[in-house]
Symmetry: C2
Subunit: 214 residues, 2 copies
């Protein structure tokens, strides 16, 4: 079972760096320095590899979302969850490189991915109402409809920030990817914050910055 696991690890790394669509089963076998036949002994094909990687992605993601939902969580913890969710997305970033075609190709994943996104959507909505209750964000016009649109903007960001940065030729390492995403999410919320909260936000961002240089 060790080789099987090894195939998954190497495949994930390859998919992340080259893109799933650009790799054949033979390419993966070459990178592993085994024969294609051997690869097919362990997995029915590329489809089974992608499927198992998705299982891992989904399982990990659901854990994060459940944790974040259950513990009514303080403010700082929300930002922490933001961080680890983005980290998880970055670890499986090949899924987000060309979602449309990937889900069309692997149709068994499609409904599950969609459910997962809906779950994440609920998580974001809860984050927003949480921030409202804590008084972090406050605004006369923050009606239910506005919360929905804001949720969509944040989901759009989670889902396509990686593609967007690549499209603009920004090859960010994991830390910069996460930080830029969090900065962007915070900017979406900033107009709803008071001066005090804005200062706290900037302090958070500085902290991330220092953490990186350190």
């Amino acid at each position: 079972m060790k080789r099987r696991e090894h195939i998954l690890v190497v495949s994930l790394a390859l998919f992340n760096s080259e893109g799933e669509a650009n790799l054949s089963a033979v390419d993966i076998a070459n990178e592993l320095e085994i024969s294609p036949g051997n690869l097919y002994y362990h997995f029915k094909g590329k489809e089974e590899i992608v499927s198992e990687l998705y299982e891992k992605f989904e399982a990990g993601f659901e854990l994060l979302l459940q944790d974040g939902m259950e513990t009514g969580a303080g403010l700082e913890e929300y930002w922490l969850y933001l961080y680890v969710i983005l980290e998880h997305i970055h670890n499986f970033r090949f899924f987000f490189r060309n979602i449309t075609d990937l889900l069309q190709k692997y149709q068994s994943i499609e409904p599950r991915f969609r459910r997962l996104m809906e779950k994440q959507s609920r998580w974001v909505r809860q984050l927003l109402t949480g921030l409202l209750e804590e008084g972090v964000i406050v605004h006369p016009h923050l009606a239910a409809e506005r919360i929905e649109r804001l949720t969509d903007s944040i989901m759009l960001l989670f889902t396509y920030w990686y593609q967007f940065q690549n499209l603009r030729n920004r090859k960010l390492d994991q830390h910069d990817f996460i930080q830029s995403a969090i900065l962007q999410i915070m900017t979406l919320l900033a107009p709803y914050m008071g001066d005090q909260q804005l200062q706290f936000m900037e302090a958070c961002l500085n902290l991330y910055q220092r953490e990186k240089q350190g």
Copy 2:
């Protein structure tokens, strides 16, 4: 030259509905009810077809952006440009269905597409400063940095709104696609607006709505 043009029209329709990656030269020929050999007589291959479609997309887009830049434009005109730009994007939506892989496959398009996006980015920035000058949006914290982030959010939306809606199984017709995008952009700006401007915004949206039903 009539057949050549016909090939482009049919290819665009096919690409938009099925996705460029899912169509071979033979598929296109079948839809046209001509032989593959004939298709290859008119175009070197799928690449040349995609290239010419991109030319059309780029040329039309640059016209729209230039117009919007030059005429310092009143407020209502900005919203109108928003509409026609989204319309143009929707007409060539296959480019936005899986941008990452498409630009990797057709590398001659990549730098041009990136330049076009930068131009659009400048247009958005000008839209925002225009709205600021007109007093439509106003906020103590709307510093240059904030404008940049807001520009990014709007560009993200322009670029991936189509994919995002599809991912969520929303198969919108052209009008609903455009309207949902404009609503989303307006919601990004809403927290920077005063009550009066918000009412005007809602009036605009109602107008779109009526236009559709009528």
